[in-house]
Symmetry: C2
Subunit: 448 residues, 2 copies
């Protein structure tokens, strides 16, 4: 272990008597000029002028400006390339020209690690000019760019809003297994795992588990990874993504599900607004207004609006765009729900409309012209499942463990799933979902 | 679709004018006798007396007693076996002898699905007498037993406390990929996935990602599945479990990590107390008091206390039990931290103690005699990683993408992971972790 270069005494420890000040709190020292403060963070940028070096230090809350005039400290800064971690102890000094109105002067700098190598992109530039492959190949560091950080801050704030609303409405958070015995949704697009010498599969969704758990907790939600072996490269699919799943029992029909969806989406948008305000500002996010009720169209009417033939089985991306435009124009809404998709073209567990079983009690939520959410009332009777599988020519056996639960009283229920990355992608109008995923996975990409 | 037996009109819909009353709110009708209320839930139990049938209805909040005197309704109840879903519209009637002081009389009953078949265990019995294999084989319905529901309610409340505290302390929730290019912790115990024709692995922990993300957000947490191909059947390991991962940067040493851990555990215990009070009552959970600071022992002293030889490389389960007893006796504490495990026997990313690199800045938290948490300050310098891997005879190549991040300024940092099921298991003093997992996965079990 002798080859490890370890400091005899931690520099962070040495200065720990002085509590750390976060970058966002530096402006508050306008009232307390002359106070000694301690910053910790990354060298975000250095600018050498004659007889003066500006050092911008970045931490999780933003950046602070440090002014270096002392000759030997200026020299020290030369050896602190961008992204090196440092501790700065200096004097808070109001200056109308400094960002935030306060800068740090007369600093003592301590390097907290080795000098950083040069990252793949210049993280201090306000705009990112590098292409997507560069950003993704070097995600470990490119995610530090404030704009890329901000994407995920929208995601994290959204998760908080999602859970808070559901907790208030009596839902129980669950975590269902990702290693499963048979494919959940269909045999296609499923990843196979070597499970102690026999095949297992990665869950394509928590669909069956959340339905079964309605039988236990009535109302459940799960935030977790789902896996789709998508054989195509598209700008809106990933092989692994974060799914926000909701399921609730004792509903009258899918409209009860849509009501919860509306509350969830409103809470996510609100949480982003209040908890990720700086990310919203930086990215100039146009936050959606979420109406008290989503405008809702039947599938037949949706087809008619788009001018599609009446026998189309599903909505294409072009149809979704047209419906997004229609909702904006007719209802000044970023959202539109399409309900009543053809039963034969939805998942076998979708509940048909009792009045006309050709149509189902399923729905999609289209957000700014892209499908964000799929949901439905589900079948809840064992015999209906058997009939639905038979009608589709699907074998009962792979679903036996799942179906068994429906022999023991599962109430009328339904639910939906929101793709987290897709939600953020639409918020920032990303052209490719990979722009807003932390470490995307697809046909070609398994690292970093 | 003609073979589907669908009601022409949803019974839930028909009665939807009357809002639903939850079982826990029935006692409040003591002040409003004679009011018509609507319950929805499962037939929990029926008791036929002469000229009278008691029907206990269970919903997500508990049970309510319905008294049936009408002859034809008594007959109807005969056709509603336990676990059938029903809607009850009746009159709230105070009765000192009824549980909660209010029962529902003169009911109209509507069946919401088919009559339920007989579950594997009698869910209405207060105690569970069935063995673990029966409970797990039929988890879809046995989880409905109030005691099994309660286990998970402790888990869900714990998750809420975990996140709330970390959100308050400036942490960012992240979700890292579960499909990875190389094994995270070691080549052993890793599941292999067929990833579009090439091998991928299931992440054994989010370790590398959370460290890299400290470089982005400074403080991160993740709640998600982790996968361990444990080749042995033990009472405290699962092949898939929910890991609560935390990592924070700009620390002085691992004591800063232990401080956050203490706050997290205190918040989890507090959240269980206030958000899962009925589960705590039902299971008679002895909630731990979490001290302001955990009693802490160095590994050497811990070995001495247990009477183990000074050259033991790790703590055995028996040592952990002895230390748990010691903490209880000496400090009246359910918790004890052991720090300074031998560097050579901890993960390669553990930070050695600069004063004596044979010992590491790692720690375990022992809760009631069982290791609940492992944590450490980690290495943060690229060269130290290279040296640590070489010293252990490990190849650099599989870790290349991971290590690369450390070239670009990762601050001094550390973190820990809590196994959710293990935490709940200790809370309820389960003898087997499978008792408290929703759908456990192990060497032999991949369903339900």
């Amino acid at each position: 272990m002798a080859s490890l270069r370890l400091p005899q005494r931690s520099p962070a420890n040495a200065a720990s008597r002085l509590p750390r000040t976060l970058a966002r709190d530096v402006p508050a020292y306008a009232d307390r000029p002359g106070e000694r403060i301690r910053l910790s963070g990354w060298v975000h940028r250095r600018r050498r002028l004659s007889g003066l070096t500006f050092l911008v230090v970045r931490d999780r809350t933003g950046t602070a400006q440090v002014v270096v005039k002392d000759e030997s400290t200026i020299e020290q800064v030369e050896g602190l390339p961008e992204e090196t971690t440092v501790e700065v102890v200096g004097i808070a000094s109001p200056n109308g020209q400094a960002p935030g109105g306060v800068e740090v002067v007369d600093p003592t700098l301590t390097r907290l690690g080795d000098p950083a190598e040069t990252p793949a992109i210049e993280l201090w530039r306000p705009k990112i000019s590098a292409g997507l492959p560069t950003l993704l190949d070097h995600a470990q560091t490119t995610l530090r760019h404030p704009r890329r950080q901000a994407h995920w801050q929208l995601a994290a704030a959204s998760l908080r809003g999602f859970r808070d609303t559901l907790d208030e409405q009596g839902f129980t958070e669950v975590h269902s297994p990702k290693l499963v015995e048979s494919a959940t949704e269909s045999g296609a697009n499923v990843f196979t795992v070597d499970y102690f010498g026999r095949p297992a599969y990665l869950a394509q969704s928590p669909q069956f588990y959340k339905q079964v758990l309605v039988g236990v907790f009535e109302r459940v939600y799960e935030v977790g990874p789902v896996f789709r072996a998508e054989p195509h490269d598209t700008v809106r699919h990933l092989a692994e993504f974060v799914s926000l799943d909701v399921e609730l029992g004792f509903i009258a029909d899918h409209h009860d599900v849509i009501k919860v969806l509306r509350d969830v989406v409103a809470a996510m948008a609100h949480s982003v607004e209040i908890r990720a305000a700086s990310a919203v500002g930086l990215l100039e996010v146009d936050l959606p207004r979420v109406p008290a009720e989503f405008p809702t169209l039947h599938f037949r009417d949706a087809l008619a609006i788009t001018g599609a033939p009446a026998d189309e089985p599903d909505l294409s991306p072009a149809h979704e765009r047209a419906l997004g435009a229609w909702a904006k124009q007719e209802h000044d809404s970023d959202f539109v729900v399409v309900e009543g998709f053809p039963t034969a073209h939805r998942a076998f567990y979708s509940h048909p409309d009792p009045a006309d079983p050709r149509w189902s009690r399923s729905f999609d939520l289209i957000f700014r012209g892209v499908e964000l959410v799929s949901g439905a009332q589900r079948l809840h009777r064992y015999d209906d499942y058997v009939a639905a599988l038979q009608q589709r020519g699907l074998a009962l056996e792979p679903f036996a463990a799942y179906l068994d639960a429906f022999r023991y009283g599962i109430p009328p229920h339904g639910g939906f799933a929101i793709g987290l990355e897709r939600w953020v992608g639409r918020l920032v109008e990303a052209t490719n979902i990979r722009q807003v995923a932390l470490f995307p996975r697809d046909l070609h990409r398994l690292a970093p």
